[in-house]
Every structure is written in C-alpha cells, then in structure tokens.
C-alpha cells in the first residue's frame, strides 16, 4: 500500500487524475454488470457517452450549458458583492451583528426550494428570479467567511497601523482586505459550487425552455436516464471549472501567503514583532511586507 502511495505521489497530477477517472469508470461499469441494472435505472458509461455525443452534436448541451452559466455567474457575483460588505459591517459593528445576525441565521433554515416559486411572482423576470435563487444560496457561506476573515486580523496589527497614523482606507486596503483574503476566497470557492446548485434549483422550480435544469426535467419526463447523467456530469464540470478559476485567483492573490510553509497569520504576527521592534520603519515598508 505504501509503495502504491509512493508511486502515485511521484506521478504528475494529470496522470493521477486520469488514473482515478479510469478506476471510477471501471467501478461504474462493474456496478452496472454485477447489479444487472436496466439502463433506465443505471446506464453504463458507454450509454452516457453515446448520449453525450448526441446532445453535443445537436447543440443542445452547449446551448443549455451556456444559459445555465449565464445565470450562475451573475448569481455568484451579486452574492459576493452583497455578502462581503455586509460581512465587513457585521465584523466591525457589534450592534449591527446583534440586530441582523438572528435574521440571517434564521433565514438559513428556510429551504430555498420553498420560496423559489414565489420569486417568479415577486420578480416578473424568470431569468432574474433564477439568478436570485443562486444569490440566496451563495450569500451565507461568503458572508460567514468574510466575517471570519476580517476578525482574523490580529489586534497588534491595528495597533501598529494606528501608530503609523494610517487612515481608515489604508487600514482596510493595506491590512484588513489582504488579511481576510484567504477566508474570503475559501467562501468564494464554496459559493462557486453552491451557485451551480442554486441555479439548478431555480431552473427546476421556474421552468423555461432553456438551461440544464430544463434539460434535466425533460430527460426525467422522457425516462432518458443516460441524458440525466450527461446533464449531471455537465453540472459537475461547470462547478469544477468555477472552483478551478477561484483557485487560480487565489494563487495569484495569495502569492505572499505561504513562505517557508508558514501561514499568512503567522507571517503577519512575525512581521508585527519585527516591525514593532524596529520602530523606525515606515508605513510603506508595512504595506510591502503585508
């Protein structure tokens, strides 16, 4: 077992991903054969591949995927732009937290699927009501991560910035935002995958003749389980792509985070000590370091 692990560790990522995919496909096919499942209960990989080629060739898969993506992206971005400022406000203001957090937490107990049909009536546009469902789903994890990120800034950093006569804007842009960035991006990663689910819920409940949710509903209506699988795999691919994009963003924005295997907060604390000891450092130096 250790030898296998050592062997896999030595391989490039693409090869291990490919190996795991092959194992998954073999296991799937074996399950179909051993379980003797008819195709309408569990289609095999070959059935799904055949259906994939059909819907790819006739343009349905691309068309419906683009519609769904066009709902996911605004849902995620709007959720982000609402959750981050609100998270900042709640992190900084105990009064705001006391006033709003009970409602925010209670709102998470409301199943989105219960209010999604009402959104169609409240918002006359089916497109925007679907986007709103995605916003509702991504909002909370991004909010919680924003609050945690802002609160993770060590108090010594505020003292240091105060001693350097930093303005409020400088404290936010040079210290709080970079310090909260790892948590924010974690929230965005979670939000990216949840946005896919949120949009799909919207498409289920607010049917239009477009979107992967519609394709899924019609596939179920026609008992085309292989098409159901194609749609599910397409949704998985969209979620993976979004996650990958956020990871790339994370790598770019957090290049400073890991040096010599130390975490961001540990590095910040270290710098505070160093900078505090050498009291003549300028605010510019602090910015550079952070």
């Amino acid at each position: 077992m250790k030898n296998i692990k050592r062997f896999l560790d030595a391989q490039p990522t693409w090869l291990t991903v490919l190996a795991s995919l092959i194992v998954l496909l073999i296991a799937w096919q074996l399950l179909v054969i051993l379980g003797d499942y008819p195709a309408f209960i569990l289609p095999g990989p070959a059935d799904v591949w055949r259906q994939f080629q059909i819907v790819l060739a006739d343009g349905r898969l691309v068309r419906h995927s683009l519609i769904t993506i066009s709902e996911i992206i605004p849902g995620l971005l709007i959720g982000l732009f609402i959750a981050v400022p609100l998270g900042y406000m709640l992190a900084k203001s105990p009064l705001a937290e006391r006033l709003l957090s009970p409602y925010l937490i209670a709102s998470q107990a409301i199943p989105v699927i219960a209010i999604a049909p009402l959104l169609t009536i409240w918002i006359s546009s089916t497109y925007w009501s679907r986007v709103t469902v995605a916003v509702l789903v991504v909002f909370f994890p991004i909010l919680i991560n924003s609050i945690t990120g802002i609160r993770s800034v060590p108090p010594e950093m505020y003292e240091l910035m105060a001693s350097l006569h930093a303005t409020r804007g400088q404290v936010f842009s040079k210290m709080e935002l970079p310090a909260a960035m790892p948590m924010l991006l974690t929230g965005l990663k979670v939000g990216a995958t949840l946005a896919v689910i949120g949009t799909l819920v919207g498409e289920f409940v607010q049917p239009r003749s477009e979107g992967l949710g519609y394709l899924l509903v019609t596939a179920r209506y026609q008992f085309k389980t292989d098409l159901v699988f194609v749609v599910l795999i397409a949704l998985g691919a969209i979620a993976l792509s979004l996650y990958g994009l956020v990871s790339l963003l994370e790598r770019r924005l957090l290049r400073w985070q890991l040096r010599d295997g130390k975490s961001a907060s540990a590095l910040q604390r270290e710098k505070v000590v160093v900078i505090s000891q050498g009291s003549s450092e300028s605010i510019k130096y602090v910015e550079k370091e952070i």
Partner: protein, 331 residues
C-alpha cells in the same frame, strides 16, 4: 477514543435500534392483519381528487382483497420508475408517461383508465374574447413548462385544430397560472380542468374555458403495473383493480359521502374543494369504468412523435395497456 467518538457511537447505536424498531413495526402491522402492505405512488399532494382510493380504503375494499394501502405522494415520474424497476407493483400515472416509459424499455402496463377525458384546459378571462382555439392565434398563453401533461394537452389542442405552436405566443410561467392570468401577464393559461377553473369561478372571475378533451382524445391518468406482476401475481392485479373500481363507482354514486370520507385522509380539508370533486367526477364517468381505448393510445403516440418527444413509434404499443383486468372485475 476521544470524547466526540464516545458520544457519537452510543448515538449511532440508538438510531440504528430505533430504525430497526420502526421497520419491525411496519412488518408486524402488515403481517398481524394478514394483509399485504402496498405503497402506492400517487403523483400529487393529498386531495379529494383521490376520493375513489380513500373510499375504497375506508370501506375496506382493499382489505377484502388482502391489501393494506400506504399512500405515497411522490412525483409522477418516480412512481413510473419504481413500477418499472418492480420496486412497487402499482402507481398512478399519465398515459403519455406510459408511452414514453415503454420507449425507454420500462416494462410497464396500464391497467385502468381512471380519467376517461384528458383534464387539461386553456382558460382565459371573458374580456379577452378567447372562445375558440382559433382565437388563441397571436395571443399569449402561459404554461407551467414545455414538458409534462399540460404541454402535451396544449399541443394536442392546437394539433387537433390544425394550428401550430408558432401561431401562439407560449410562455413558461411555472405553476403560477392564476396569478399570471389575473395580473394580465398572459391572455390565457393552461391548467387542470378540474382545479383552477373552479378556483377562478369561486373567486368571482368570469372565464372562458377551452377543454382539450372536447377536441382530442388522449390517454390520461390511470393505474400502471409491470409485466412481471401481471405474469407472476395476476390475483394481486385483479384484487387491486376490483377494489379501485368499487371505490370509483361509490364515489360517482355518492359524492357527498366520498367527500366526507376524504376529510379523514386530507388533513385540514374543509368544504372549499367540494366543487373540485364534482368537476373531477365528470372526467371519470364511463359506461364501463376504467376501460381504455386503443385509438386514444395511438393518437397520444402520434402526438408525442409530432412534438418530438418520441423519435419513432413504440414497438408493440398494444402491450402498453390492457383491459383484461377491468373487464374481468367490473363491479
């Protein structure tokens, strides 16, 4: 072992024991009465439209056949898949669904046509002046979606009147037909003929009602089983059909009694849905209750092909339905 694990393990054991107790209770209930427990996927929420089943259970017709029914109000397609996989022996489904399921090799067989007329209608406010299907040309019609029973009925009505979908502006509006109609977002809406028109009339709204069944004969809701159950357990199919038809006959003969019985099965049911039952009964009436017509199956199949939902005719369409049991046990 850490503290979390020490707490978790007893909790899991308790849950497993409780789960075990529950299944044992169900088995004991089924065996103690000597009845076979059956789960019946219904396809809709508890409603007086299911009065024939409530009556048959309440009067002991199913018990006389050795059956104990458990109503399962899950979605229609789930019921069909469960029957196709022989997980449950019966479900209430639409005829269009049976054809689509057969096309995907689900070995399902329709044994009882409960709704003799397709209960879809296109409803509009009287002021809109939509009195014939041709009046729909150039107007906007709201649909729950471009799939399912409503869509099939809508296209069926157009097709029967030599009209095409391009001539009408169809909009998918979800299940918000009444709200959209009353707020004039659309000129007409596609609804269940035994439900929304009654609600609109009760609200004092003057409406025009184009019934799909007046223009085309399509197969609608009924009872489906599978080939294996018919081959291995025909007595079960006979017993189920007999009990269902007795409940249906009693409901048609005495709607007042049926509605009162329904109150035991539909939580919080007041008299506001009494008209829905009366309206539904008009869709169930037939000289021979439950009998299905081969012509309507062919017409439904043709329509599904015309709509692009089927690529080609189903092999052995006549195997998709049978009148054998209905004729044998007619009360």
């Amino acid at each position: 072992m850490n503290r979390f694990a020490r707490l978790l393990i007893p909790l899991l054991i308790i849950l497993l024991v409780l789960a075990g107790c529950n299944s044992t209770a169900v088995e004991q209930e089924a065996s103690s009465g000597g009845l076979t427990q059956l789960r019946l996927p219904m396809g809709y929420i508890p409603d007086p439209q299911y009065a024939p089943l409530y009556v048959a259970v309440d009067k002991g017709y199913f018990a006389e056949e050795g059956l104990a029914l458990e109503f399962d109000y899950s979605f229609e397609t789930d019921g069909m898949a469960l029957v196709g996989a022989n997980e449950v022996p019966f479900a209430l489904v639409g005829g269009d669904q049976v054809i689509l399921a057969r096309a995907q090799d689900l070995p399902v067989v329709y044994i009882l046509e409960w709704f003799q007329k397709y209960p879809i209608a296109i409803v509009s406010r009287q002021a809109a002046g939509i009195e014939t299907p041709q009046d729909l040309i150039g107007r906007s019609v709201g649909l729950p979606g471009f799939f399912g029973t409503s869509y099939v009925g809508y296209v069926g009505l157009l097709s029967a009147n030599n009209m095409t979908e391009d001539q009408v502006e169809a909009k998918d509006i979800g299940f918000t037909q009444i709200e959209n109609l009353l707020s004039d977002q659309v000129d007409a809406v596609v609804v269940f003929a035994n439900n929304e028109p009654i609600q609109l009339e009760n609200m004092g709204e003057a409406i025009n009602n184009l019934q799909v069944a007046d223009y085309i004969d399509l197969v609608h809701n009924g009872v489906v089983t599978n080939e294996e159950t018919i081959a291995n357990n025909p007595q079960l199919v006979e017993g189920f059909t007999r009990a269902f038809l007795r409940g249906l006959k009693d409901t048609i003969a005495n709607p007042d009694e049926a509605y009162e019985i329904s109150k035991k099965y539909v939580e919080g049911l007041d008299n506001s849905r009494r008209d829905v039952l009366d309206s539904s009964i008009e869709f169930w009436r037939a000289d021979t209750l439950g009998l299905t017509d081969g012509q309507s199956w062919k017409r439904t199949e043709d329509l599904l092909i015309e709509m692009g939902l089927l690529d080609h005719p189903v092999a052995d369409l006549e195997k998709a339905y049978t009148n054998d049991f209905v004729l044998k046990v007619q009360p």
